[in-house]
């Protein structure tokens, strides 16, 4: 039968020629035709093209080569990549080669072996053939033994690599004919490794075959093979105008993406449909996320022809983390993380509340404990917990892999999709559409995991789960998106099949496009060259690099009208990029980007003034300030907004992490409690502390461990130091502890509080003491601060409530050293004299401040910015104490 090779450069009309021939055949009712292409996307594209010509035809007339050989290759089926990985893992273990001892357990190792096996197999080099031509390389023999082991396991478990299936199909076609197919066209292929050639050769025995090849793809080796098969070369005669080329330089990838978006918006405004535009990417990890975000921002509908990780999809994360939670014995944090992923609870106040309650009591475990935290034991959250509880029993099962797969396929029942919003947009709809795809793939993964495992012998969930997780990790997820009018985002290899009026090629910097190819750790270039000499077509790093060039040439010729190339001048770390050396030959002058933003969807108004003036709220303020503690006054004095945040709004943050719970407030509380108890009934302070500390630790669920121990020791030392300290002539006094007080300052304000200790001497002299669990330095600062409230108001309280005229007031610093600082009538412990008019002054100031509060003055105005660091409202108040230095303003 005639076999011919149709070659030509990009744009010479090879595909058009083939499609026309196919249409002709269908129009004249010749159905014995077949168009074969390398990828499913291309197949679908051509199917649609032909259908839109008004023809009705069987779908398989246009299909991928892999799909085509299915009916000839029969069993065993092709092994999926993820399964191959698991099998290689096992093969590595079985082969147990000393060369691989150090790396055998590393996840990337089996992946690298699997990849190289895949590459060799695709080139028609199975373990037998490799064995015959094993090149001299240090790891060759070890690799070969793993390859052999892999082949053995594949056979035993009923799997085949793709090459094997191609060869089987070729043999059958050769022997049995093509089953009525008279004409075959193959279009869009690039590499054509030997097993594919074998199929083409077999087809040529029985049918009229036409193969198209681009000029850059028809390398010498391939041409040689084809000539040997009797192909006759013809040139495609068409010619396409070269597109206009533009080069754009952006400062970073964000700017670059925005510039592309800007140009697309311009095109759209000029009436160009989105579907006529494509973006070609070489470094997907860098560009896919940023383009997704940017195009979405500019409301440009786009379809990404890229896989993502199945394991990262929210639906799958929900399932996997639920199983992990179960295997952790329902550790509360892990379980909560899983439950939070349940789709119906994404915006559920009940879940939010539950989240905090769990956070407050963590760490803990067990579903029972979790359910006990529920407010509504009949509510949806309770049902969710009940539903996940059903997998609890799996832990005790021992089953065959196939049965495990069935079990895991029922896991999707735990996932209950949320009702789609009534007014969804297409992006949102795509998210919802993705869920079932992800769940289906998860089911598939379960089956594949089962197929990769030894079918004999029951196993526990642990072993199966490990395999399934590997498969899920490796399984690609591509979401269905059949929208018609979208910008196409393509990888450079994928783009080779495309022609669009307007094309952007981004990321043209060294290391990304071209990518740098390293030598293979198993068969470095020297070894590969010797394999090539034996007729095995594997590629060297050098050849991979020249393919980069071909990819680039192809990328910039995909456009029929306009191709815009771009690169970022700096990388994310601010380092300068080196523009792609490929750009050098084009001699283009780079254009700069224009800053651009989408029109915001709302207009920012001037910030409202920070003040309360609504009469009802002012009334509330008055009510809330009829009784105040000295510390509240101090807080207001330090900063009205601080007072607003902590006393009026009483802002509650999310629960502290367990290791943060022993914060300075908690420490202060414990120290106060110990001292109060110790004064009441003296005993050994260390033992007393140990008891109180332990109580508080348990109560607040503070974990034991190094940090707790460190603080515990420090607190204990401080207390012991205090107990041993003789600075204060303790025995001369009678002490009263934690004295509560409340008294009116005027008719509308009462001052209330609690004095840590009141010491009265035999002669009636009384001192007020207030413990500060902070460093001595801070104590000094307090002393310097004449405008304080605590000390004078305590004095006043003592006078008014306790009926004693105090001789002084002291702060007792306990941290690190014992320090006394205070005011006293008579000289005592280096105290300052009690300032004149102190109490009256404080009262006046207090009344003044209260008046201010009641007038609604709450604007942030810190008296001492150093204290802002400790303020709970520091994020809320919008005062910047530390200016971010990372990047200054450019006015």
């Amino acid at each position: 039968m005639p076999v011919r090779l149709l070659t030509g450069p990009a744009g010479s009309g090879k595909t058009a020629f083939v499609v026309e021939r196919l249409i002709e055949a269908l129009r004249s009712n010749r159905y014995g035709v077949q168009l074969l292409v390398p990828t499913a996307t291309l197949a679908e594209h051509l199917q649609n093209r032909v259908a839109r010509e008004g023809l009705v035809f069987r779908r398989h007339l246009i299909q991928t080569l892999s799909g085509f050989i299915d009916r000839w290759a029969g069993d065993p089926p092709q092994v999926a990549d993820a399964v191959l990985y698991l099998i290689v893992e096992e093969a590595v273990a079985r082969a147990n080669r000393p060369e691989f001892r150090r790396v055998a357990g590393l996840p990337g190792f089996s992946a690298a072996v699997a990849r190289t096996i895949g590459e060799f197999s695709a080139a028609g080099c199975d373990s037998r053939r490799l064995g015959e031509h094993l090149p001299d390389s240090p790891l060759g023999a070890a690799f070969l033994s793993v390859y052999r082991e892999t082949d053995r396991i594949l056979k035993r478990q009923g799997w085949a690599l793709r090459a094997e299936r191609l060869e089987r199909a070729a043999a059958r076609i050769r022997n049995e004919g093509t089953g009525g197919i008279e004409t075959v066209w193959l279009d869009g292929f690039h590499a054509l490794p030997d097993p594919e050639l074998a199929v083409i050769e077999a087809l040529g025995d029985h049918a009229d075959v036409t193969l198209t090849l681009g000029d850059t793809d028809a390398g010498e080796a391939l041409r040689g093979r084809l000539w040997a098969m009797g192909f006759e070369e013809e040139r495609a005669a068409g010619h396409r105008e070269a597109p206009e080329l533009t080069l754009v330089r952006a400062s970073g990838i964000e700017r670059e993406a925005e510039e592309i978006a800007r140009r697309i918006v311009d095109e759209a405004a000029a009436g160009r449909p989105f579907r006529e535009i494509g973006i070609i990417i070489r470094a997907a990890e860098t560009y896919v996320p940023v383009l997704r975000a940017t195009l979405e921002r500019f409301a440009i509908p786009a379809r990404f022809y890229f896989d993502s990780e199945l394991g990262r999809h929210a639906a799958v994360r929900f399932l996997t983390s639920t199983v992990d939670a179960m295997l952790s014995g329902w550790d509360h944090a892990t379980t909560l993380a899983a439950l939070r992923l349940a789709p119906r609870f994404a915006d559920s106040p009940a879940m939010d509340r539950f989240d905090f309650r769990v956070g407050e009591l963590a760490p803990d475990s067990g579903l029972g404990g979790l359910k006990a935290l529920l407010e509504d034991v009949e509510g949806p959250l309770a049902h969710l917990i009940d539903s996940v509880a059903t997998i609890e029993e799996w832990r005790s099962f021992e089953m065959q892999p196939a049965d495990w797969a069935l079990r895991f396929r029922s896991l999707r029942n735990l996932f209950r999709a949320a009702r789609p919003p009534e007014r969804a947009d297409h992006e949102l709809a795509l998210l919802w559409r993705g869920q079932s795809t992800a769940l289906d793939l998860f089911d598939q993964a379960a089956s594949e995991a089962a197929q990769a495992l030894d079918p004999e012998g029951p196993l526990g969930i642990g072993e199966f789960w490990r395999a399934l997780k590997s498969v899920v990790r490796l399984k690609p997820l591509r979401l269905e998106d059949g929208r018609r009018n979208v910008v196409h985002i393509l990888s450079a290899p994928e783009a080779r099949q495309w022609v669009l009026p307007v094309v952007f090629v981004c990321g043209l910097v060294e290391g990304q496009f071209p990518q740098f190819h390293l030598e293979d750790p198993f068969f470095p270039d020297a070894a590969r060259t010797s394999l090539q000499a034996a007729g095995i077509r594997v590629r060297t790093a050098r050849e991979f690099e020249s393919e980069e060039r071909a990819l680039f040439d192809s990328a910039i010729t995909r456009a029929t009208e306009q191709a815009t190339l771009s690169y970022p001048e700096f990388d994310a770390g601010g380092e300068g990029n080196l523009p792609s050396l490929f750009l050098e030959g084009l001699a283009l002058e780079a254009e700069e980007t224009c800053p651009v933003r989408p029109q915001p969807r709302s207009v920012l108004t001037a910030p409202p003034p920070p003040v309360i003036h609504e009469p009802q709220l002012l009334a509330t303020l008055r009510l809330k300030t009829t009784r105040l503690a000295p510390t509240a006054l101090e807080s207001y004095q330090q900063c009205p907004f601080q007072y607003f945040g902590s006393h009026l709004l009483r802002l509650q943050p999310r629960p502290a992490r367990p290791e943060e719970r022993l914060d300075f407030r908690a420490q202060g509380k414990i120290v106060h409690a110990v001292l109060a108890a110790w004064y009441r009934s003296p005993e050994e302070i260390g033992a007393l502390f140990d008891r109180i500390f332990e109580e508080s630790r348990e109560q607040n669920r503070i974990p034991t461990g190094y940090h707790t121990e460190r603080l515990r020791q420090a607190m204990r030392d401080d207390l012991e130091r205090f107990a041993a300290d003789a600075t204060w002539p303790r025995l001369n006094f009678r002490s009263r502890m934690e004295e509560k007080f409340e008294f009116p300052l005027n008719e509308s304000l009462r001052i209330a509080g609690r004095i840590d200790r009141v010491d009265t001497a035999a002669d009636g002299r009384t001192y007020i003491l207030d413990y500060k669990y902070s460093a001595a330095q801070r104590l000094k600062e307090m002393l310097k601060n004449g405008d304080q409230f605590q000390a004078p108001l305590y004095l006043m309280a003592a006078e008014k409530v306790l009926g004693a005229k105090p001789a002084g007031v002291f702060y007792v610093g306990l941290k690190g050293v014992v320090a006394y600082a205070g005011w006293s009538e008579a000289p005592f412990l280096e105290a300052d004299p009690i300032p004149e008019e102190w109490l009256a002054g404080a009262a006046r100031r207090a009344l003044h401040l209260v008046e201010e509060i009641r007038q609604g003055r709450i604007a942030a105005a810190p008296l001492n910015t150093r204290q802002c660091r400790l303020c709970d409202s520091r994020d809320v108040c919008r005062i910047e104490v530390i200016r971010p230095a990372a990047a200054g303003g450019i006015p």
Binding site: R407, R878, R883
Partner: protein, 1065 residues
Amino acid sequence: MNDVPFTSNQLRAVDVSDRYLDTCVVAGPGSGKTTVLVEYFRRLVEDGVDPLRILAITFTEKAAGNMRKRLNEVFHQNTGTCARLERAWVSTLDGFCARLLRENSVVAGVDPEFAVADERESWRLAQASIAAAVTAVFEEHPAAMRALIRGLSSADFAQALVSAYDAVRGAAMTLEALAAKQPPIGATFDEVENTIVALRDDPLAGWKPEQRLQRNLMVKEAEAIMEAHTPADALRALDRYSGNLRKLKQATRGYSLAERLRDLLKELPYTLITEQYRRERELLVEVLRRFDLIYRKRKQQAGVLDFADLEEHAVRLLEESPQTRARVEAQFDHVVMDEFQDTNGQQARLLDLVRRPGRFYAVGDINQSIYGFRHAEPEVFRQYRDQAGRRIELTDNFRSRKEILRAVQTVAKHAAGIEPHRLIAGRSFEQPRSVCVEAIAAGGLSLDEALGNEARLVARRILELTEETGSRFAFQDMAVLVRNTEVLSSFANAFDEAGIPYVVNRGKGFYEGREVNDLAHLLRTIANPRDEISLAVVLRSPLAQVSDEALLELRILGENMGTSLVGLSHDARPQFEAEDFSKLSRFRDLLHGWRIRREHVSFDRLLFAALDDCGYPCEPGARGWTNIEKFLAQARRAAARMSLDEFVEELALVRASNPREPDAPPERSANAVNVMTVHSAKGLEFPIVFVSALHKGVDTNLPVVAFSRRFGLGARWRNPATGEDKDDLFQHAIRSERKKQEDAESDRLLYVAMTRAEQHLVLSFSHAGRKLGNWAKGVVNSLDLNLDSPRDEVLTRTAPDGQEWKLRLLVADQPPLGLAGQVLVPAPEPVERVALPAATGQQDTKATVTAIAAFAKCPREYYLRHYLGLEGRARKLEAAGELSAAEFGTQVHALLAGSLVSNPDPEALRLADVFRQGPLGRRAERAKRVEREFDFLMAVDDVVLRGQVDLWFEEGGELVIVDYKTDSVTPLEAHQRAGDYALQLRLYAMAVERVTGRTPDRAWLDFLRPNTVIEVDLAPSLVDVPEHVVHDFQQAQARLEFPLVEAAHCHRCAFLHDLCPSAYR
């Protein structure tokens, strides 16, 4: 300087005829070393060396990129060489290691797919690992660990250990070697003992009795120390030792013995502390070991290597595999290296392993070695320089004016850390400048105030310099260099005040900035709006901008503000100002939208949406916009690895540690003053340089646990006798070693800073009357500056070589007048606000016939089931080997199509038989044309439809279409359902008609289970014209509007009362 001819020294440096001699090029600042390196490379290649056989190592990625670029320019004519250059080994040392390891991963024992962890990721892993290590050791040895915590003067040693660990690796030391390190020699007991004995036995000729008494007391006290049973007792005894020398007879042997004893006893505590805490110190090493294990394990699990790993594994690979080493050595004829002075111990070792003797070409300058904090060891360079076969000094400076160089040398002369090195001005400038060097001293009542004044004076000078007649200095020509980032905010304030544009890089406080703060709290709010702090931040920010009154109202409304917001209903409306209420409601709705997408889209997309939804100011020109961008980029990267909750958690941790952030990419177009640390200015040059805040040093306190390559691991402990802190012998030795190194490095850092300037150099500092510290001290002394009173004068100074130069000295204790308001900045480029395009044509290009039929029945059900792919009911758990309904149906169809079915279900076989025996089956047998499983494509109104006709045939003059159904239904139900399938069959008829060119005559539905055959009317009803339905279908998809059709079929619909809002009964 490309056009400038080479100097004779440069010519010697690039001469390749001596290329088989190890060479050291000592390249002073501005001496054109990159040019020399590139030229050397070029000449090697021109002399026939394959570019692939040269290993060129640079200090930064940027330098590597630069070098590649310049090489490419040099060889651009020669395509062959260019192609080889693409694969050439021009990279940083880390880049080289990474490539080496990847290509030899198996032998090196690293994961072949390893990724290199960035600083942040390694930080995260290290933090988690050290916590785990400490906890583990604590659990195993609680008592010992308590003792350790008690003993260490600062109990928070975890961070110190992590840095020590870094240093240990940088020094290429193993933990075993570390553990085996013996303490440095301190005062020994024998020495003390001998001295006591000598003192005791001294005859004390001529001493008075009370002097003798004193000696005896002294001896007794000293003996008490010696007799102590434990180091702790000895320390206590030592604490009691009074040792008053004054009461002894001076200038006697006894006196000098007592003196010696005093000195020994001063040193003895270090020995005693070392002894006392021997076990605890071992435990420290144990914690390190554990940390090492855990950290390695975690990196392994994550498949990453950190930078230190790259070097360590590369060294190990070359050491342990002689073949690899031989291959690598043989691979490179020449090894060329830049900035050799910044090499650390590990790197030096690596270089030794790859270079053959006589093939090394290193460029460096000891005076520019400033990376001690990264464990660089300038000694390595010094040794090499002094032994290299060839040594060339490049002294000509092609960067700076001669006056600047003279100033540098004048200051350097007094700096012990700078090796004498001549700087010869080699560049000529068109315009003369009478004064090129200035010093500014700012005073004030407090140091804070003085610093504020200094910053303003600097701002003033910046403005003046841009206005200077005759020069063309722009803001971007200037750099302000500081040593300590703490002062940056003062300069930022002053520049804001003066309207000077600036860009700061490498600073702290990134997470404290208002914008980043807003966004971080927004993420927290999305994670859980009950977090009232975060909610309040967001509500007060431009994201919602509600009033404080509204916040208070929310508080009053309920127990939690978040709950109040989410549940905000119209009833609450009177409570709020109208504007607040509408802002709150809008924000509530937006929040809902973000929250339902939170696990599906990356965090940066959520944030972008929020910024645009809310009109948040975030564009070039807006305050903090580079920070916003950087945060968005962080969020984007994080989204690839973690959930929102995890990210929020990580942010909290990172923020608490207040890290220094790496640079944001600079804006090209920005005409702004560069504010940066001296370290980040390395390798750069600017026409005008301010070296500012000279008075402000950095914290050089030794951490509680420290490491030095020479002494090992030292720590500072609590002296049990006094409760005070005391070094052990290791730490004591490290402290003095470190002090020396740091002083020298500080000198070099100033040298690097000053030599960045081309045309004008300003040195500025603040003082508040007190003693000057840090660089200010050296500068004032070496330049002999009088700061007594305010002045502005030009002085003449003499450089060490006798040349004179002029210095302007400005001393002020006030800020300059009239600084504000002088905004000379060109308006930023206008930002284009684009209106968003209307996305039309968002319907799918293809559909299945089944979907179209489902749509015709109820668009909503179609939407839920087919468009979104949702399932209404839980799937039942199949028993092993059991077929699902769908699989069963497929089997029956396959059997009827005549395909091979392995292990067919008996029931499927039966149903296939039912059909074959039935009238249609028998007719099909007789037909002249039969198509089974006709899987077709057909375009209708721009949609490509896909369908599968089970069977069509021509028989008896009739064209007949048949569709089998395997549903479990009764005959009655079959009749009820038949209507649902009419459209489907009509579409089939359309397809068959287009293929055959003939209108099908009849169509049948064959329900196989009840064995009921129902004919379908092919004449299109008025409502169900296929073309119309397809059109409506497209419209619905394009608009995403899928109305409910509530009817009896709802009872069969899996979505009723759940995903479908229908209330149909």
